[in-house]
């Protein structure tokens, strides 16, 4: 395909907004996502159908002739202004004038005894499976971890007749109350929160509570929870557990964009440290849907050269950023969670490496070389955030392929001269 003016990586809210706004200015725009449908994780299609908010943006992107490349993941940047993507049955190279990285976030998983059992999933993980048709009706579900996502997942599960036993939120009641006060300054958010609370009626929401062990023979049968002095066991079919979100920064790192505190660093036009490479949404810091949308819009305008139009959205972005800061503060994982894994608990699920073995190393590189922690196909996407939280080690540099890739895809394109 011919080079496009603006290439957007990621079709979640930030990517959709960016692609739409860039296309509105007349730019030729293409949008790539690993998933088969646009919408990202938050607007994941259920039974092939996108939720209403998403549908509006998707429709708008379609109207403006945004080219949609589904089921494609970026694995390399073989030349300046070019990226290589792999699909289930092939590979292609895409050229661009401007690139927008709207790569979103993933859940932060923290290891605890039994967390590798089947049916222990991420909170978003269980929701994704349910949206793809996994029946949850009548299933006993414990939702645990941290952040607003737990509430959204609980709401979805309840609407689909699941038996949600409780929500275990690790943050303290006082942190959440403080956050609630901040919410009052954001009417939209408040309505959302109230709406959620109504939907959640009847589900215990326990703060300062977390899972200490998942139990079961071949699959999950029960989870042991801890809250203050109290420890008890809940029988359940699924444990949906995620401790907040971490930005996906691999592609940005591959391109050499500066990262700051685990996120892609951007200027006021959402431009990264590399000219003509922009980033928006969760990749630039966890901030929620509204912030992702407005950042995406700004990035879309800016990448298409309409910086004046981008500027009109700065004030809105500032408001949502304040909210994001409060969110991060309220739901930051507590120190006590570092004591969840035992020495024999696996940290790296690809290579089955225990915490004890990782801890015996002096740092990431030694752990990789001597224990293979982080060396499996997930390339440290799961254990990386856990090790950073537990041991304070930051992940190392990124090399192509940034995603496991077929050998043929790595060799099909002509090598640069």
């Amino acid at each position: 395909m011919p080079d496009c003016d603006v290439l957007v990586i990621g079709a979640g809210p930030a990517g959709l907004a960016a692609a739409t706004r860039a296309a509105e200015t007349g730019a030729s725009v293409a949008m790539v996502d690993d998933n088969p449908h646009p919408g990202g994780q938050i607007w994941r299609a259920a039974a092939g159908k996108a939720p209403q908010d998403a549908a509006r943006w998707i429709h708008s992107a379609e109207q403006h002739q945004v080219e949609w490349i589904a089921g494609a993941r970026v694995f390399a940047a073989p030349a300046p202004n070019r990226i290589a993507v792999e699909k289930f049955d092939g590979e292609l190279e895409l050229g661009y004038r401007s690139l927008i990285l709207a790569t979103g976030a993933r859940e932060r998983f923290l290891p605890f005894p039994g967390w590798t059992l089947p049916n222990v999933m991420g909170a978003g993980g269980l929701q994704a499976l349910a949206k793809s048709g996994l029946p949850v009706e009548g299933k006993k579900i414990v939702i645990a971890g941290s952040g607003p996502l737990l509430l959204a997942v609980a709401k979805y599960m309840k609407e689909h007749a699941a038996d949600v036993r409780l929500i275990a939120e690790q943050a303290t009641q006082s942190a959440l109350l403080a956050f609630g006060l901040r919410l009052a300054a954001h009417p939209g958010k408040l309505i959302q929160a109230v709406g959620l609370r109504a939907a959640l009626l009847g589900i215990p929401y326990l703060t300062s509570c977390w899972p200490v062990a998942a139990e079961g023979k071949d699959k999950l049968e029960a989870v042991t929870l801890s809250r203050g002095e109290r420890t008890w066991t809940e029988r359940c079919d699924y444990l949906a557990c995620g401790f907040g979100l971490v930005p996906n920064t691999e592609i940005a790192a591959l391109l050499g964009c500066r990262l700051s505190d685990g996120s892609v660093a951007v200027d006021e036009q959402q431009q990264t440290s590399i000219t003509n490479v922009y980033s928006a949404g969760e990749a630039t810091g966890i901030g929620g849907l509204e912030l992702a949308l407005v950042e995406g819009e700004i990035a879309g305008f800016a990448a298409a050269g309409a910086s004046a139009r981008a500027r009109t959205l700065f004030a809105a972005r500032d408001r949502y950023r304040k909210f994001a800061e409060a969110l991060e503060h309220a739901f930051a994982p507590r120190e006590e969670l570092k004591a969840l894994p035992r020495e024999e608990t696996l940290v790296c699920r690809c290579e089955d490496v225990t915490l004890g073995r990782v801890r015996s190393c002096t740092g990431w590189r030694e752990a990789k070389l001597h224990t293979r922690c982080g060396m499996g196909p997930c390339q440290g996407r799961v254990c990386g955030a856990a090790v950073e939280f537990l041991l304070g080690w930051k992940s190392e540099s990124v090399r192509p392929p940034v995603f496991p890739t077929r050998i043929e895809s790595l060799t099909r394109t002509e090598p640069p001269a």
Partner: protein
């Protein structure tokens, strides 16, 4: 000034670790200075192929001696060293290379290295994923593969058990026969100093003829049984030995995990460790020419490393002519893992005035090096 050691070794790669183990076993007091993780340089970047190579008589002598040392120790290694006696298949694509197979077999037979010639059908049976209609191969069954970082760690651990000391996280700034000056300005005095810093050796011992030769490798997800032997094209002899041009060769190794390591590339003049997309593509294309089914396998990682290359393709093992207390143990090019154990023996033999099992002269730093091509 701190305690003086009998031997101070700069570099905790597999060569430094083997030297430490050997010297400590001989009762010497040993210190190893290593800025990064043990076996974190070329040791981690290499494949870990224990192989007899017959590029020159001195190379055969060294690799065969060292492989014998590996074989004798195979039983003692912990599981994470992943020693597997997989054997090497030197793959011949055509009649010309088959003639080379015959020549090679005769050379190996003469020194008592087991080797057998496989015809086209036997080769296809031994490695069904190779492309059809290859001419044959030489099978060297006692060649092996190891996981080098853990092998290095094991050797260093053995040295520590015998009283050696590791100055981890510290860098050597300057070497002399009297000791190692560290980056922080402190000095580690020693009777003998060994420069075992691989491709970085010239920065500590200026003037030695060691150059960086960059290589790329790719590792796949787990596909147990896809490949059984270490597979190397005999065209390797034509391509990999050129001292001037960048080259790639088909070289695939089965790991104990079921993963495949895919190589190899050789480049002079590349100073930076980044992946070179062009070399990676060339290397993987070459691999697919020999093994088309590789195309559908998933690569999960690629990386680069720097071999320490010398003009005559032989390592530098022994005292520097200008400073007899400063030893070199570098310049192993792509054979550092194989020859680490023999290197350690030869270093210890020289500094203890023991009679070495093979003549040391071809590897002495003071030798006259003829450009080898």
């Amino acid at each position: 000034m701190g305690k003086s050691y009998d031997v101070a070794i700069a570099g905790g790669g597999i060569v430094g670790a083997a030297c430490a183990e050997e010297c400590a076993a001989a009762g010497l007091s040993v210190v190893v200075v290593e800025p990064g993780p043990v076996g974190g340089g070329a040791t981690a970047a290499g494949m870990g192929h224990i192989v007899v190579m017959d590029d020159s008589p001195a190379q055969i002598a060294l690799t065969n001696y060292s492989r014998t040392l590996w074989m004798a120790r195979a039983h003692e290694f912990p599981a994470d060293v992943e020693y597997v006696s997989a054997g090497t298949l030197w793959v011949a694509a055509d009649a010309e290379e088959m003639a080379e197979v015959e020549r090679k077999r005769a050379v190996y037979e003469a020194i008592g290295v087991r080797a057998e010639v496989l015809g086209p059908r036997e080769l296809a049976e031994a490695e069904p994923n190779l492309r059809p209609s290859l001419a044959g191969a030489l099978r060297v069954p006692d060649d092996a593969v190891v996981y080098p970082p853990c092998a290095a760690r094991y050797m260093l651990q053995r040295a520590l058990e015998r009283g050696a000391v590791v100055r981890a996280g510290e860098s050597a700034a300057q070497l002399s026969g009297a000791g190692i000056k560290l980056r922080d300005g402190s000095f580690v005095p020693a009777g003998i100093v060994v420069n075992a810093t691989g491709a970085w050796a010239p920065s500590l011992t200026p003037g030695i003829e060691v150059r960086k030769r960059k290589g790329h490798l790719v590792i796949t997800d787990r596909y147990p049984g896809f490949v059984h032997h270490q597979l190397v094209e005999l065209g390797y002899l034509k391509s990999a030995h050129s001292m001037t041009a960048d080259s790639v060769a088909f070289n695939v190794q089965p790991r104990k995990t079921g993963q495949l390591l895919i190589g190899s590339s050789r480049q002079f003049g590349a100073e930076h460790g980044e992946i070179d997309a062009n070399m990676l593509t060339r290397m993987l294309r070459r691999a697919q020419e020999y093994m088309p089914a590789l195309a559908a396998l998933t690569a999960i990682r690629s990386w680069t490393g720097f071999r320490a290359a010398t003009p005559d393709k032989l390592p530098l093992i022994g005292p520097c002519p200008q400073d007899p207390r400063l030893y070199l143990a570098t310049g192993h090019e792509g054979l550092g893992i194989t020859t680490s154990l023999a290197t350690a023996k030869l270093v210890a033999d020289q500094l203890l005035h023991r009679t070495p099992a093979i003549p040391v002269e071809p590897y002495l730093p003071g030798r006259k090096q003829a450009e080898h091509d």
